[in-house]
Each structure stands twice: as C-alpha cells, then as structure tokens.
C-alpha cells in the first residue's frame, strides 16, 4: 500500500483540485468526511488526513511514503525528508507585521509573538537583533494590539486579517507554498511509485492545475 499524508484545513482546499483527474484523486472530500484514513485498495493507495503541522512527522517517521505540506511548516519543523516538488498552490508569505503606527525601540529586546519560533529565532539571529520570542498557538494578530508583543511573525495570504486588525507587513521572511515530500527510506524501496506521483503532480502544476 502506498501511503500519502494530506493536511486538513485551509491547504486541503487547494490540494483537492490538484489531485482531481489524476490517478491520485481522493475518494472523498477531506473537508466533508470525518474519516481520517481513506483507502482505495484497487489503486493500492491510502490517504492519511492529519493536521498540517503533523504531515512532516508522519512522512519523516515512515508512516506515510509521501505527503503534501506547506513550506512554512516544513521549514519550521525541519523534517528529515526529501522535498521533491513545489506544487505552486496555497501560496502565502511568512512575514513580520506590526501595528500601523509602530516605531521600533532598538534600545531593548524586540518582543515577537509567533507560532513559528524556530524560523523567527533564525531570522532575527541572521540580522543580529536581540528578541524575546513569545510562543502562541493562534490569533497571533491580537498580541501587539494588547501589548503582549511589539510585532508578530505569521503567515500572510491576502492580508485581510492583518488590515482588519490594523496591522501591516513590515518585512517578508519566507515565501511559502505546498510541497510534495517523501520519506528517505521509502524513496529507496518505492522509487518507482514516488517518481510516478512526482511526475503526475509536476505535469498538473505546470498546467496551472
């Protein structure tokens, strides 16, 4: 059985049309089904639907042979996997954002609220800026409005949420989109299958879905 890890949530909406009409078409809409494991025995396929942040773990630990994951999560989790293809969907950017009238106080450590602690630490270390990183799990935009932090580091797709909370992008850190990843050991034993799904998705991606 060839196992594919897919993210639930926002990215799933972009992946369904990507797989549609290919040999990897999903047997059910992940947005509607409550099943977490979907099997298509006649095609030898099994789909595992998991939280976007867990896709890398399922693939790196070999439960799934391949998976689709956002570049932002992949970089944050630093998974030991092969990154085979940019699927050019689910595009967004990891950005630093601050209140519209924000002026940085360079005389003290910058307080940054984020769920991307690793990427945030690496970014500020690269520009030699002292920071106090505050780990949050959601509603990051609230943090500077309530003076919990000076700025936030978060994923920005259209910018609507930022604008509605009177925040604006002041720096871009990492452009992100969905990526096809593979387990390194699976690549040795299921190379034919992995190359096949890579080729199909590359063709689909080049057609612009």
């Amino acid at each position: 059985m060839f196992s594919i890890a897919l993210p639930t949530g926002r990215l799933a909406k972009d992946i369904v049309p990507l797989l549609a009409g290919t040999p990897y078409e999903l047997p059910a809409d992940p947005g509607k089904t409550r099943k977490l494991i979907l099997e298509v025995p006649e095609r030898g396929l099994r789909y595992i639907l998991v939280k976007p942040s867990d896709v890398g773990v399922y693939v790196a630990r070999g439960v799934c042979d391949v998976g689709i994951i956002g570049k932002d999560v992949l970089a944050e989790e630093d998974c030991d996997v092969f990154e085979l293809l940019d699927l050019k969907t689910g595009a967004c950017t990891l950005c630093v954002a601050a209140p519209a009238d924000y002026e940085e106080d360079t005389g003290r450590a910058l307080r940054v609220a984020t769920k991307y602690t690793r990427l945030t630490r690496e970014f500020y270390q690269s520009i030699h800026r002292e920071t106090e990183i505050i780990k949050l799990h959601g509603s990051i935009e609230v943090a500077p409005l309530l003076a919990l932090s000076d700025v936030i580091v978060d994923l920005v797709q259209t910018g609507t949420t930022l604008r509605e909370n009177n925040l604006e992008v002041i720096r871009e850190i990492l452009p992100s989109s969905a990526r096809l990843i593979a387990n390194k050991a699976s690549y040795r034993f299921k190379q034919k299958e992995i190359r096949a799904i890579t080729d199909v998705l590359r063709e689909k991606t080049e057609q612009g879905l």
Binding site: G62, F82, L84, N183, Y187, R188, Q191
Partner: protein
Amino acid sequence: MENYLSALPKEEAATLQLSALYESFGYKKYRNTRFEEYSFYHDYQGFLAGEGVITFNSADGKLMALKPDMTLSILKNVEIHPDSLSRIYYNENVYRFQQSTREYKEIHQCGLEMIGPMDAFAVGEIVLLALQSLAAVDEDYVLTLSHADLVASVLLTLPVEPRVREQMAVCLQKKNLHDLQQLAEQAGLSGAQSRALEVLSDTADPLQEAAERLAPLKEPLFGPNTEAGARFLQALEEVRTLHEMFKDTEYRDHLVLDTSILNPVDYYSGIVMQGYVRAVPHMVLAGGRYDRLAEKLRKNVGAMGFAVYLDRLRAYYKTQKPYDVDTLLLYGTDTPVTELMEKRAALQKEGRSLRTEKHVPKGLRARRQLRYTNGQWEECHV
C-alpha cells in the same frame, strides 16, 4: 546458532551476526572507555554532523565528554602501521545531545574501521561488508553510495558565494530541484551549470547507469585540464570500479548511486555510504572514506569505515513471540532428580527452550506442559 538467533530480539541477533561477520574478515574487536576529554571532540564538531556532545567535569576539574562517536576515538588511539592495514570493529554505545529534539540519546552502534594504505580492493572490502551487514539485518536492503568529490567538485566550480553554495548543497541533500533552480537563476549560472545541478538533484540509480548519466556533465561544466574536472572524473572512476567489482554478484541490485549523500568534504575524501532496510523508515548504516579527517589528526593514512545503528531496529521488528518458552516441565517432590536432569538435557539437545517449575508460574506462556506423573512425563493441558 540459527535457532538461538531467531529467539533473540533483532538488535541482539544482529549484534552477534555482525560481530561474527567482522571477525571472519580478520577484524579485531576494539573496546574503549566511555569518557574522553571534551577538547578533543570540540575540534571536530563538524564530523559529528552538528549533534551535541554531553559533557561533565571530572574529579580533577577537567571537562570530559561521554564518547559521541567511535571513529574519532579509534583514529586517535589505535596504533597505525604505515605498511599494513589495521582492521578494527566495535560494538559500543555512543552518547549525543540531539539539538532537534533537545534530548540526550544513547545510540547502539556496531561498526568497523580500516586504517592504513587503502587501495581500490580495500574500498571494495568495506563496501562488501556494508552490504553483508545490511543483509544480516534484513533480506530487503539497499546500500546507497556516492563519492565525496562528485558533488563537491561541481559546487566548487560554480561562480557563487560560499553562502549560496551551502544553500545549494542543502537543496541537493533534499532533492529539492525547485529551490535549486531559483538559486541558480539568481546567481546567473550558465545552462550547463544549471543542467548539472538538475542532474545531481535527481540521480538515484544503479551504479553504471548513474555514472553514464553523470559523465557527460564533465566537458561543458569543467572544460579540459582543470583540477576540479580531474577530481570529478576520478570520483566517477571509483564508482565504475565498484560497479565492476559487484556487477556479477548477488549484491548488484542492492547498490545505488545517490548524489543526495553529501558528507562534509573537510573530513570525507572518497566513497560515502548510507544503508537502508525496508522495515525501518530511517537510515540504518552510515560511513565512508575519511582520509581528510585522518590528515587533520596528523595521521597521513587512508581510512574508511561505517557504523550500523542497531538501536534503530528496536521499534520495527516484532520481538513478541507466541510463547515465552517451548516447554514447561512440572515436577513434584516425588520426581527423581535424575529423571528431571535427563529430560531437561534431552529437550535442550533438541534445541527447545524450557523452564522447570513445581507450579505453573503466573503469566508464563508455554507451548506445552509436561508433568511427571506415575513415573513418566505426560503432556497436560496448557
């Protein structure tokens, strides 16, 4: 021997098999203290692939380290004879601090090192032993290999900053062609240079096939008579030699040249290897030729070796057996001791595992029970 091995957990069985294999090739067992002075490892952090060393203070105030690696220790401590090869194997635990998980790890390794005047045949012996080590663990295995200079010579010839070169190396390790193409475009690389990166990002094929795919890159990339071009050709030649050695053997279909294996060229100088078995979703064998590490330790000799990560087998091979013992011998106060001894000896001779008890122990799973009744052994219900 086979009977006993099948009764053992995979890690323990593999340890015995690998030790026997290495002894049969004339390798001598090396045992070392668990502790070394930290300063020694500090100088060779790059060789430990960024994993941390666990340190503590000795009674006299010296900063000590729990041994994080065997190769460094062996290379530093063994006596080297310039005219003959030293063959050493080990079965040891090493200790590391894993930055990614922030955990201390005890890693069980069984491996070997060959140190001295290396030649192609010696390299072939190490590759053969790596193949046989994987075969001892699982019949379904793949040994992927590359040459340290194969990718390094290409990257060093590109007109890019060291920072970009490092980023390109990371992309190659991840088979990440899309980011690699972007870096090539930003750096203004030529068509031949971009094409070379594209081929390197996707090469994972049988040795001969891969060598044929890589050879045409030489002329457009390096031109005639360049040092980097000569290194590239020499690396390909070593791969072809291995193909010649193994093409008519049972190992032929288990060998793959994969250019995503990038060991640091500061330490590695020739063939580098990673091994996989189907049941384990992680690399279980790693190694290569490390003449440059030997040179840094002021030992001007060739050196090559590998380690099998035995602790990685634990979770993926079922050790759950249907029974704890084959036979449970139940005796009473009236059972003659000689009868008991004779029966036990007879069963052991048949290769059966057994326990002798007066009563059935709680939780014990025996395939069958024999009770001594009326002067003879009778089978009773389990």
